[in-house]
């Protein structure tokens, strides 16, 4: 049975709010930077070129991401924003473990651990598997079918 009641609502509400706010700011900044780069002419791309070349495909290399953000490359700023967005529910679940611990609700500590495990499994096991067994070849043919240019 749950022990003493700790109010976990405000903490979780704040994680969600800050996560979405920060990611939205980053994505908007990234869009503006991309639009500026686009306007300057050097990187004027069409949508079908983006799709065909998979331009801006999320990097899995943290160093590349960080240096891209430091150099104010729009695509990397958007990527960081998307990562923050993806991390928000994961952090929320992780925080719930601590909060259920504080309430001595062991059943829910275990349940929440399992949910966190499923999320991490998808990010660190299934995701890399799909990246490795990518549909690059299939996408290539699809692009040519959908975007004859």
């Amino acid at each position: 049975m749950p022990g003493k009641q700790v109010d976990l609502n405000p903490v979780i509400a704040n994680i969600l709010r800050y996560g979405v706010t920060i990611s939205t700011i980053l994505i908007v900044a990234g869009i503006l930077l991309t639009a500026l780069e686009d306007a300057s002419g050097s990187s004027a791309l069409t949508l079908s070129q983006v799709i065909r070349t998979d331009y801006g495909r999320p990097t899995l290399d943290l160093n590349v991401l960080i240096s891209g953000v430091i150099h104010l490359d729009g695509v990397y700023v958007v990527q960081l924003g998307l990562l923050v967005l993806l991390a928000t529910p994961v952090i929320r679940v992780a925080a719930s473990i601590l909060l259920f611990l504080a309430e001595n609700d062991w059943k829910y500590v275990v349940i929440t651990f399992v949910v966190l495990g499923i999320l991490l499994f998808s990010i660190f096991i299934v995701g890399p598997y799909e990246a490795h067994n990518g549909a690059a070849g299939v996408v290539q043919t699809l692009r040519i079918v959908n975007h004859p240019e």
């Binding site: 749950p2 609502n9 405000p10 979780i12 509400a13 969600l16 709010r17 996560g19 979405v20 990611s23 939205t24 994505i27 869009i31 991309t34 639009a35 686009d38 004027a44 791309l45 069409t46 949508l47 079908s48 983006v50 799709i51 998979d54 331009y55 801006g56 495909r57 999320p58 899995l60 695509v75 958007v78 990527q79 998307l82 967005l85 993806l86 928000t88 529910p89 929320r92 719930s96 059943k107 829910y108 349940i111 949910v115 499923i118 999320l119 998808s122 990010i123 660190f124 299934v126 995701g127 890399p128 799909e130 990246a131 067994n133 990518g134 549909a135 299939v138 699809l142 692009r143 959908n146």
Partner: protein
């Protein structure tokens, strides 16, 4: 020739409109994103799903924070059911990528069309909230503390409730998670059905807890789509920001008004997009080769 700037601007405004109308009629605007990206901008469907599912996390997390603060959302019910929704979402995402890689994307298009048609039907024939709320906890809901109470502002009383038929509810949640991962939508209506109709939780608790769960469910499949390389930042950016702004605007400005004409408009949009998606699915299905073949044989 659509340039990146054209896309960013046009898709941003389309996403704002989708989020706004979606929140006004009570269906997530995310359901419009995949049809628009695939049919209008010719984005390959897994990339459209990748862009859409990101906006689902943002919308859910953005609006859920308000209800969590109001203490209507039941965090335990949500966390427990997330066991089922996240498992379903992982399977759904893997299945959709498998179908795509196997050249069976017509199945994804057709399934999406069917869900759009069902949503259109649901919008018109929306059932009234199930008024029966279970108050007596059974064995499972007692063991798992799937009980609670909330202050109902309309009745001005504290309402007690307890979940019942938990296994049936879990099964519906698993399906909702799978559809979410498969098609890149929130599938909130199905989650509400699981809690409200199956588990006899109050409608208000069901809708807010469903919204709360959508973000974590979407995160399970987004992990796969993002790391797998299907969330293109340029494609996803205007969608993520646009749908959130639209839906926040919708809930803040015109809270709980569901004008009939707007619902009718949304019904027509869902119906047209549903038919288009099914048409696209059928047109690329091997079925058409078969029909062509038969036609040649016949003549």
């Amino acid at each position: 020739m659509i340039t990146v700037t054209d896309y960013l601007i046009s898709m941003f405004f389309i996403s704002v409109a989708a989020g706004l109308i979606g929140s006004l009629v009570g269906i997530g605007g995310g359901i419009l994103v995949v049809p628009i990206l695939t049919l209008v901008y010719h984005v390959p469907i897994p990339f459209a799903i990748g862009a859409s599912i990101v906006s689902v996390i943002a919308t859910s997390s953005g609006s859920a924070s308000a209800y969590v603060r109001d203490r209507i959302t039941n965090l335990r019910v949500g966390m427990f059911l997330e066991l089922a929704t996240t498992t379903g979402a992982v399977i759904g995402a893997v299945v959709t990528l498998f179908l795509f890689k196997s050249g069976l994307q017509w199945i994804i298009f057709t399934a999406f069309g069917a869900v759009l048609m069902f949503s259109a039907y649901d919008l018109l024939k929306r059932k009234v909230a199930d008024t029966f709320t279970n108050k007596v906890p059974d064995k499972i809901s007692r063991t798992l503390s799937l009980t609670g109470s909330y202050y109902d502002s309309a009745l001005k009383t504290e309402l007690q409730y307890a979940a019942t038929r938990v296994p049936a509810g879990m099964s519906v949640m698993f399906c909702a998670g799978m559809i979410s991962g498969l098609l890149g939508i929130g599938s909130g209506a199905l989650k509400v059905l699981g809690m409200d109709t199956m588990m006899k939780l109050p409608f208000k608790v069901s809708t807010t807890t469903s919204n709360f769960m959508i973000g974590v469910t979407a995160a399970a499949s987004t992990g796969i789509f993002y790391i797998g390389g299907y969330v293109n930042p340029i494609l996803a950016a205007p969608v993520a920001v646009g749908v959130v702004i639209g839906s926040l605007f919708g809930t803040r400005v015109l809270i709980r008004t569901r004008p009939k004409s707007l619902r009718l408009l949304f019904f027509v949009v869902l119906l047209i997009l549903g038919l288009e998606m099914i048409q696209r699915g059928v047109s690329i299905a091997p079925l058409s080769f078969l029909i062509d073949f038969l036609r040649v044989v016949a003549t």
